[in-house]
């Protein structure tokens, strides 16, 4: 037993040294979620501490991760552990009337087991506190390294069973972190879990990085980097760091957007003439197709769900507004935003029904949503809100705002009821982009 532990310890130490020397570093800027506002009538749930498999679980408290996920959704109120008179880990040991009497609507119990060969198994059951019925159960296999992700999948399961929509707890975000003051700022492109944990630096530069975009399969990020004092579009495989510069044409290279089939990037080019227009770049062949050709600034393309249309920002009417065109017939352009004098930066929800964008209300820049042919609902209240991105379940938008003069991230639910702020402990964060559901 002792010998096994010592071998494990040595293994861990060597692995850590290797990680420090060769792998991209853990990011300095860690995000913390605050809930700022939840629904007025949250669902009461008790997430009972799970049976642990120490030290195989690497010290991770799975039930605590699940509790935090559910509370951070703003739709649940979790029972405090200190109030639990018992902490059963199996359904058979649950005295459901006690939990009901304590005010809970649901109870989650579970166990983490070491199954040998460095594998762990999580087993859990979700119980209805009203009648003691089991709503569902799940079993997950994991290693110490993937245990946190398995816990998030458990949160997704509980969330979906109760709320009826797929959860997005086991997803990732990417964002830009900026350190220092002008003119000596440093920029990082960071990938983290959706709750801000496990940040990893994907790219670091002394010149700006902007417009990160996840590929539909979640394996690649496209982005704009100014690392040679010119803008260029890159695609980078997140896991390996493999990187390809896909557009470094004269002038502006910007606003990359992956087609739903992942084969094409819509992007903005200006050529030497300085006039921004939208193009399509077929990644496998480098074939370039021009989509807009006018004197206005046309940029920020976003694909419709079926890949047949592009939404984009254009100031052809004098100031920026959102337009839509058919990729197969790009001369047919239709304006879709109205009301405010400034509407820009469109994004389409995963189900294709909602359009999110930045709108100006008075002197403030805020996030609005509308049904693609409907009227705008302004969801946020900041003065410089920007960069909205939909969660893959379409329930939430993550965006960038400012708090006390610092760039922060925030989320707002589509119905406007739940808001969160995600602050960095260092520096500013901006341009969040929510990754897709993980391919199983």
């Amino acid at each position: 037993m002792y010998q096994a532990m010592m071998r494990r310890l040595t293994g861990l130490l060597v692995a850590t040294a290797l990680a420090g020397a060769l792998l991209p570093g853990v990011a300095r800027a860690e995000l913390q979620i605050d809930i700022t506002q939840g629904v007025s009538d949250p669902i009461a749930i008790a997430v009972v501490p799970f049976a642990r498999a120490v030290p195989a679980d690497g010290g991770l408290d799975v039930a605590a991760v699940v509790q935090r996920d559910l509370e951070s959704s703003g739709r649940f109120r979790a029972m405090a552990r200190g109030s639990m008179l018992a902490q059963p880990t199996r359904t058979a040991d649950v005295q459901i009337s006690d939990w009901r009497a304590a005010g809970n609507d649901y109870v989650v119990v579970g166990r983490v087991l070491a199954t040998g060969n460095a594998e762990l198994q999580i087993e859990c059951e979700l119980l209805n506190a009203l009648n003691g019925q089991q709503l569902g159960s799940r079993r997950y296999t994991a290693t110490a390294a993937t245990l946190r992700n398995a816990a998030h999948q458990l949160s997704d399961f509980v969330y979906e069973q109760i709320i009826g929509t797929r959860g997005a707890f086991a997803t990732r975000i990417a964002y830009i972190s900026v350190d220092g003051q002008p003119p000596a700022q440093r920029f990082q492109l960071i990938v983290a879990d959706a709750d801000g944990e496990n940040p990893r630096i994907v790219l670091a530069s002394r010149l700006p990085i902007m417009s990160p975009a996840w590929s539909p399969d979640g394996q690649w990020l496209a982005y704009v980097s100014f690392e040679n004092n010119v803008s260029a579009v890159y695609v980078q495989q997140v896991r390996s760091g493999e990187r390809r510069r896909v557009s470094a044409r004269t002038g502006v290279n910007g606003a990359p957007a992956w087609s739903p089939d992942g084969q094409t990037l819509a992007l903005t080019l200006s050529g030497s003439g300085g006039n921004l227009d939208i193009y399509l770049l077929e990644l496998a062949t480098q074939k370039l197709t021009r989509i807009t050709a006018d004197d206005a600034i046309d940029t920020e393309p976003a694909w419709s769900r079926d890949g047949r249309e592009l939404y984009f920002t254009s100031d052809r009417a004098g100031g920026p507004q959102i337009y839509r065109l058919e990729v197969a017939a790009p001369q047919r352009v239709q304006r879709v935003s109205f009301g405010a004098a400034y509407n820009a930066r469109p994004r389409i929800s995963p189900d294709g029904r909602l359009l999110a964008y930045v709108t100006r209300e008075g002197a403030a820049y805020r996030i609005a949503v509308q049904e693609t042919a409907g009227s705008a609902r302004v969801l946020t209240r900041g003065s410089l809100d920007e960069s909205p991105s939909f969660a893959p379940n379409g329930m939430t938008l993550i965006y960038a705002g400012r708090q006390g003069g610092q760039g922060t991230l925030a989320t707002v639910s589509i119905d406007g009821q739940v808001t969160q702020r995600l602050k960095s402990d260092q520096g500013e964060v901006r341009e969040p982009v929510w990754g897709p559901f993980a391919t199983p």
């Binding site: 890159y234 390996s240 921004l276 820009a344 920007e386």
Partner: protein
Amino acid sequence: MRHHAISTLLAIGLLALAGCAGKSAVKPATDNAPAASAVGSGQTSGDASGTATTGATGEGGVAAAAQAETGIIYFDFDSSEIRPEFVDVVASQARRIRGNASVRVRLEGHTDERGSREYNIGLGERRAQSVRRALLLQGVAEAQLATVSYGEERPAVAGSGEEAWAKNRRVEIVYLN
């Protein structure tokens, strides 16, 4: 247990190798390495301060002479028009640049922080092009001028409000040699 430790090390090793892949054309940037920008160590790219006066390396007669004068043109909100008070600045920069055919400059266009970032790249580009046209009209050769728009990404001053915004809406004429 032992099997696990070895396979973990192998996995980490493989990951590390992949992370430093020699296969890719461009090295992945890590926290230790500067951005893959540094083609030559003398270039501004990695450490450009972004102000016209320091130019590239600060060496050489032209750059030093340029430091004597501010090559920054400021703009009104939502405008790329060169204001009357900057006509002289543009004119004297044009004289300096066309006076020596080997001089190269980069016109860097910027906006204040308000509004959407990629749209602001477009506005910054308009401003850079505006100055470029003015310089061309005054006899500077095309080959001497490069442009880039940074949109709102490289402010001169941090902060919000009219004063900071006014200082960020600008084109900087950066001497490259």
